[in-house]
Amino acid sequence: MAIRYLLGNEGIAHACLEANIDFASGYPGTPSSEVIDVLRVQKERPFTVEWSTNEKVAFENALAAAWCGLRALCTMKHVGLNVAADPLMTSAYTGVTGGFVVLSADDPFAHSSQNEQDTRRYAHFARLPCLDPASVQEAHDMMRDAFALSEEFGLPVIFRPTTRICHSKGDVDLGEIGTEHRTAAFSRDPKQYVVIPAHTRVLHKVLNQKQPALKRRLVELGYNRHTVRGKTAVVASGVAAAYVQEVLGDDVSLAIIGAYPIDEEWLADFVDRHEKVLVVEELDPVVEEVVRQVATKTEVFGKIDGTVQYEGEFTPATVAAALGRADMAPTATFPAAAPVPGVPPRPPILCAGCMHRPTFYAMRKVFRDGIFPSDIGCYTLGLQLGAVDTTICMGASITVGSGISRSGEERPVISTIGDSTFLHTGIPGLLNAVYNGADMVVVILDNRITAMTGHQPNPNTGLTATGEESTPISLDAICRSCGVSWVETVDPYDLPVLLDTFRKAKERRGVRVVIAKQPCVITARKSGIKRKPYTVDPERCTGCGACRSFGCPAIAFDDKNATITELCAGCGVCADICPSGAIVMEGRR
C-alpha cells in the first residue's frame, strides 16, 4: 500500500488493523503503550478497544474475546506479564478459537523499568509460541501474521518486541487495512473452558502434543532461518540480529531466531556444520541454552562462558567486541569513546507545577522521621526529593507500608501511590492493611490520568480509551468501603491546607488516607487551563535557598538570588514556601 516512516509500535498497531483485529485491551507500560494509543484514536477500522485496569484484567478480557472467535490483542510491558501470568499459564491449556496475540514488550537496559526480565522465559514456561522481531518491518510483518498462527494452533501467541523495536523508527511497507469483521459467538464447551482437574489433565497433554508441529512451522514460516557461509557461525535473535548483520564478515554463517520454540533438529543440523558458534541475544541465554543442548562437537560461545554480556542492551560495538573474543573478525571495530567526565547529570525530573512536588514537600515537613514506600509512576521521581524509600512493583507502596508497620517498626509509615496504580493493584493492599490493623498513612497522588506512560485515561479520568464519558468513580468512596474511616481530599497547590491535613493525619492511628487531587500539569495545559506565572522580587529575596529545597525546575539561581524561568506553570506553591514573601504572581508586585 505505502511506505511510511513509523515508530515500531505504530507499525505493530497498523499490522493489527491489516489483520482484521476485533478486540484490543492493555494496560499502559513503556515501551508498549503506543500500540493501544494508536488503535484507540484511529478511525479507519471500528472495533472494541479498551485500557483495562491492570494486565490480568486486560488479558482475561481479550482471552474471552478470542474464546468468542474474535481476533484479539492484549498489550503490556514485560513486568505487566507477571500480573497477567496466572491466566497466561492456563490459557495455554484452554487454547483459543479466534487469534489471540499477547504483546509483552521487554526493556533491555531497563530504560523505563524496574528489571530486565525476559518474556521468552514465560513463553517457554507456558509452552506458547513467541515471536521476537529483529526490525520494525519484521515486527509489522510478524504481527500481521500472528493472529493466523494463533488460529492455526489454537494457542495464544506471545509477541515480544524490545525497546529498540518499539521505539525505533524506520521505513515500513504497510498493507491495506482489513475490512472483515467477525461476530462474537461463545460456544459452550466445558471440557475446553472449565479447567477442573479432569479436564486440565487432558488439556495439558494436548498442549504438549502441539509442540513438535509448532516448532517445524516456525521454520517453514521463515521466522527461524539460516545461511551457511563458512566453518564458523553466529546464531542471533531479536534486535541483536540487526547489530550482528552490521558487523558480520561474509565468511561467517548466520542463523536468525525470530520465533520460539526452536526446532532442535533444524538447529542441530546448522550447528553441526560449524566448528565454532557464537550466540548473540539480549537478556537471558534462551537461544544459547538450546544451542548448547544440541551441539555435539561444536564449540559454543555466548553468555554462559562470558563471551557475551548478560545484562543491558547491545549495540553494533558490543556485538563486534564479542565477535572479536570468539575469533570471528568483525568487519568493523569501534574506537573506545568515553564521555567527558564531570558533566553535571540531567536526570528526568518532575515537571514545574507538578502536583506531586508539593505533596512530597509537605509530607516530608510533617513526617520528618517517616518511612516512605512508593510506587510506579512519575512520582517515583520523588526519589530526588528524598520522599521515596522503596519501589518494587505496581501496588507495592501500600503493601510494603503495611508490612513495615506490622513488623513493629515504630517510625511513621507514609505510602504514596498514583490514582492509576491504586486502581491497578493498590486496592487489595489497602483492604488488607485495614483488615489486619496496619498503622499507616496512604497518600493517593490523584492527577486524574496515567501520566508517565503518555497520559492514558483510567477509570478515574472519566473517559474511556476511545474518548467516551465513563461512569464516574470516587476514590474516597473506594477507600471508605475498604474500611478506612479517615479519608481527606486536599488540593496540593494549597500548601497550608496540605500541611494541616498531614498534621491531622499524624495525630491519628490506623489506616488514614489523604487524596491529593490536582490534574497533571501537562494535561491541564493541554485542556486550556492557564495559570499566571510567578516571579521573584529581587529586593525581597535574601538568597536563603528555602525554595531551592523545593526542587522545581522553574527555579534557578543567579549569583545568590533565586529567579523563576519561563518554565513556571503558576502553581504558586513556592510563594508559600518563601519565608521573605519574595515570590509573587507576575503583575501583582
Binding site: 529498540r164 524506520g170 547489530y243 553494533p316 553535571p344 547529570p345 521521581l381
Partner: protein, 195 residues
C-alpha cells in the same frame, strides 16, 4: 565506507528533538531512502537529557555507536558536551548557544561549566554555534528553535533542502507551517554563513 549517514540530535526533554528527527525520517521517505532511528520515550522525557539517533540510508539497527556519528546537533551546550564522544576526533557539531542549568546542580551544589568553558572544551571539533532563540523569534515563535537547528545543520545532511522543507511542512502542526518554514530557512542561512 559506512553505508549510512549518522546524525545524533541531543537536547532536553520538551525541546523537540523527536520532531526534528521526524522531519529527517519523513525526508528520507520522500527521497526513497531507507532510514533507521531511535528515540527516548517514557520516564527520561520529563525534563531529562534526551537523544535521537537518525541513520540516513541505514538498513540494520537504529543505534549509532559512540565515536562514529557523522553529525551531532545539540539543542543545549551542556548536552553537546555530554554527547560529544559520539563524534570522531574533529567531528561536525551544530550547537545552540543556550545553556539550561540542570536543577540537580542547584539541589546538589554541583559545579556547572559556563558557556565559554564549554565552547573551549568543544573547540577541537568542527563547531557551528547558532543563536536559535533569536532566529526562532525572528521566524515568529520561540518554539521553532528545533527547526532552526535543523535548518542550520541541513547543509551537512545528505538530503535535498527542498525535501527537508517539504518534510517540515508535513511534520509540524498545520497552523505553524509558515513559522517553521521561515525557521528552517533562517537556520539554513545561518548554518551556511558561519565558518
Amino acid at each position: 565506507m559506512k553505508p549510512s549517514f549518522d546524525i545524533l540530535i541531543v537536547g532536553i526533554g520538551g525541546q523537540g528533538t523527536v520532531l526534528a528527527s521526524n522531519v529527517l525520517g519523513e525526508a528520507c521517505i520522500l527521497e526513497n531512502c531507507t532510514v533507521r532511528s531511535a528515540e527516548t520515550h517514557g520516564m527520561a522525557q520529563r525534563g531529562g537529557s534526551v537523544e535521537s539517533h537518525i541513520r540516513i540510508g541505514g538498513k540494520h539497527g537504529s543505534l549509532i555507536v559512540p565515536g562514529t556519528a557523522d553529525l551531532l546537533v545539540a539543542f543545549d551546550l551542556l548536552e553537546a558536551l555530554r554527547y560529544r564522544h559520539y563524534l570522531p576526533a574533529g567531528g561536525r557539531l551544530v550547537v545552540n548557544r543556550s545553556l539550561v542549568v540542570p536543577t540537580s546542580v542547584y539541589q546538589q551544589d554541583l559545579d556547572v561549566p559556563d558557556e565559554e568553558s564549554i565552547l573551549t572544551a568543544l573547540a577541537d571539533l568542527d563547531v557551528t554555534c547558532i543563536d536559535a532563540a533569536s532566529l526562532a523569534e525572528e521566524a515568529g515563535s520561540i518554539l521553532s528553535q528545533n527547526i532552526v537547528m535543523l535548518g542550520a545543520a541541513s547543509g551537512e545532511i545528505p538530503l535535498r533542502p527542498g525535501t527537508l522543507e517539504e518534510a517540515v511542512r508535513r511534520c509540524v502542526p498545520q497552523k505553524t507551517v509558515e513559522v517553521n518554514t521561515a525557521a528552517f530557512r533562517l537556520g539554513r542561512e545561518k548554518g551556511a554563513g558561519t565558518p
